[in-house]
């Protein structure tokens, strides 16, 4: 079937310490983005926009509740129809099986075999982008190599220490795949691997079968990284659209703030690839007579009585009279009390800021208030202001 050329494996992020406390209970994939999305919506949307029907997610078993809560039966993405399925696997499963001396890729192999697709897409959740997988597949098919890695020409200051940097020979073969931290020169522009791969499914199954007998890395992304430099195995496809590599709090904050730049927003959200997310029934957002809102994004279900500038406010949040929110990301169901102030901060879900309380971060030190916190005293990211 023409529509069923690819299946997809979305590998969420295990390495999310730098995003704590936001990732204490949720994986990176279900972090909120631009008021109403979760990061994994971008991968899932790329996948279903390319007509892919079979999707496996690899998640951290300790944080899966938020994933199921968001995806439900997959209706919004059309993954609940006959002939479609999504399937969840756990990082821990392959690690545990490997430790026990069992065949640790068998779950993945079974998924690949059942999908009956000639090609497989493997993608992480850390690279925020709007990727056209049909176009990437076209390039993959033109090469005679079983593996294509998608990369972006990226400045060093947007690359994490543990990111993979690629180099190619003159024929376009990947020849090296190195950890950024290990490069001798870490300035300039690099070929950043976006952790997105298109593989011939037959080759992938075969490589996984052999790999699990040869003590290969148990995680699929590590496994593929190790494959890349093999002679004439992998080619590259350069992605040139909007990309934000989300690996720490500043990069996460920046990705959200980027959406207030209409060019960047259009590039990510208003292309011909629709970004699909869980739909919610909320009333319209209400702006009171005294509300002052400038250069901001808001989701539905909010009540705004105060001032909001240069900020992103998620659904069901309330900004009380005379409260001021600037340069901040407010996740769902927050309550910013009368006369309270929030500057340069990220408020996680269900945060309550009591009346008159000041939360003051700085551009270089964004304050993060964890989920369900009631903030009753001033918070500041600089010592002098905190009292």
């Amino acid at each position: 079937m023409k529509n069923n050329q690819m299946c997809a494996i979305i590998v969420d992020e295990l390495n999310d310490d730098a995003l704590k406390p936001l990732t204490n209970e949720r994986p990176l994939g279900t972090l909120f983005f631009d008021c109403k999305y979760r990061l994994i919506d971008f991968e899932l949307s790329s996948v279903v926009n390319a007509g892919i029907r079979n999707v496996q997610l690899i998640e951290d078993e300790d944080k899966v509740r938020s994933v199921f809560d968001h995806l439900g039966g997959g209706r919004e993405w059309g993954l609940d129809a006959i002939g479609s399925y999504q399937y969840v696997n756990y990082f821990q499963d392959s690690e545990n099986k490997k430790a026990a001396g069992e065949k640790y890729f068998n779950n993945t192999i079974e998924f690949l075999e059942k999908s009956h697709t000639a090609y497989t897409v493997i993608m992480g959740t850390r690279m925020l982008c709007n990727l056209n997988l049909r176009a990437a597949l076209k390039i993959h098919k033109q090469t005679d190599k079983p593996l294509t890695v998608i990369y972006s020409r990226t400045d060093a200051n947007e690359i994490a220490a543990y990111d993979s940097i690629l180099s190619f020979d003159s024929l376009g073969n990947v020849i090296t795949c190195d950890e950024f931290a290990k490069l001798p020169d870490q300035t300039g522009i690099f070929n950043l691997s976006m952790n997105v791969y298109i593989a011939d499914t037959r080759w992938l199954i075969d490589a996984l079968r052999k790999g699990q007998q040869l003590d290969a890395p148990a995680q699929l992304d590590d496994f593929l990284k190790a494959q890349l430099p093999k002679p004439e195995l992998a080619g590259g496809y350069e992605y040139v659209g909007y990309l934000q590599n989300i690996y720490d709090l500043p990069s996460y904050y920046q990705s959200n703030k980027d959406m207030l730049d209409s060019n960047k927003m259009n590039e990510l959200l208003y292309t011909n690839q629709r970004i699909i997310t869980r739909t919610r029934n909320e009333v319209a957002t209400y702006y009171d007579r005294h509300a002052k809102v400038k250069n901001s994004h808001l989701a539905t279900g909010c009540d705004i009585y105060g001032t909001v500038t240069d900020s992103l406010i998620s659904r069901r949040s309330v900004v009380d009279p005379k409260a001021v929110v600037t340069n901040s990301i407010v996740m769902p169901n927050a309550r910013i009390g009368h006369n309270a102030e929030v500057h340069w901060a990220i408020l996680d879900k269900n945060v309550v800021v009591k009346p008159g309380v000041r939360i003051v971060g700085t551009p270089d030190n964004i304050l993060v208030v964890p989920k369900d916190t009631r903030v009753e005293a001033n918070l500041s990211s600089t010592e002098e202001e905190a009292n």
Binding site: D34, C35, K36, R75, E76, S262, M265, L269, Y270, R274, I275, I276, T277, T279, R280, N281, E282, V283, A284, T285, Y286, Y287, D288, R289, H290, A291, V293, K294, N295, S296, H297, L298, A299, T300, L312
Partner: protein, 383 residues
Amino acid sequence: MIMNDEMLGIVLAGGKGTRLGKLTQNQAKPAVPFGGRYRIIDFTMSNCVNSGIRNIGVITQYQPLVLDRHIGNGASWGLDRLDSGVTILQPYSSPDGSKWFAGTAHAIYQNIDYIDSINPKYLLVLSGDHIYKMDYSDMLQQHIDNGASLTVAVIDVPWEDASRFGIMNTDEHDRITEFVEKPAEPKSNHASMGIYIFNWARLREVLVNNFTKNDNMLDFGKNVIPYYLDSGEPVYAYRFSGYWRDVGTIMSLWQANMEFLEPNNGLNMQDRSWRINSRSPLAPPQMLTDTAEVSQSMIVDGCYVAGKIQHSILSANVRVKEGSQVIDSMIMPGASIGRDVTIRRAIIGENAVIGDGVTIDGGDDDIAVVGNGETLGGTSNEE
């Protein structure tokens, strides 16, 4: 709450809504957008689901496309389950000829096969064009307690307005003694809300007997209720006292939208125990630029606002460019408003395009209307 399939809901959504003019040129009245996030029928649909009704038939006839698409398989209201469903009932042809619906009761008669397939004890007949929240299970309980054959929901309207409504005169037990359509000198102010609970077996009998002989049972208000009263059926009134608006005219539709903006308008939309659900559009968050000025207004997903919005509602995917102002108005989904536009006391239809510099003002006594998909003034290509 009575939780079973005792009662089937039938929403009469086939009306033309002639008095809404341009707004119902390409869609039936129940499909007209309301309150930024909704279409009018969402209130009736949600009331049904919240009242424990699991099967709903929606009778359509006039311009059904938008409505059909909106209702879909009912998933937006949780009606896509094993034990529940929504069925769109459109006119059809059969060996007996075409089954167009010549009236409200005739539409029920033409759909007897559907109703029999659900086999309810009670039939709840609703019109899909009112804005209100109501628990129909409470009405059913009263219907059962009264031993009624028919219960009609009524709301007390101001006496000076009573002559515009169908008025139910009742005895001290709320049994209806007389029904007068638009009485010149009303004896009561209990106006029919167009909400009926019938014992299905009896209504079926009445409809079949009469339609077998002639076509004199076409309409509930004109024929069926008078017939029930004349033949001594126990017909009771169910008194409703909450917020209820008929939005059948441009002015009343505009007014109800303006009331919707009032924080304490009686609908209590924030009450999560009685939510009004709708089909949600897939759209990015609303975006207010540096030049936006928004007050006393409601805005939803997909909107781009660079102008001044005052005491107005913007529905999904509306764009208002810099230098424009929207005052006391309701903008329907997908409308695009250019630069330096003034819109005051107006309803702008779905996907209308208002070119730069245009002024639309209903004046102090009227409401201006721009039709669905209508283009006014020149538009610039720059985006």
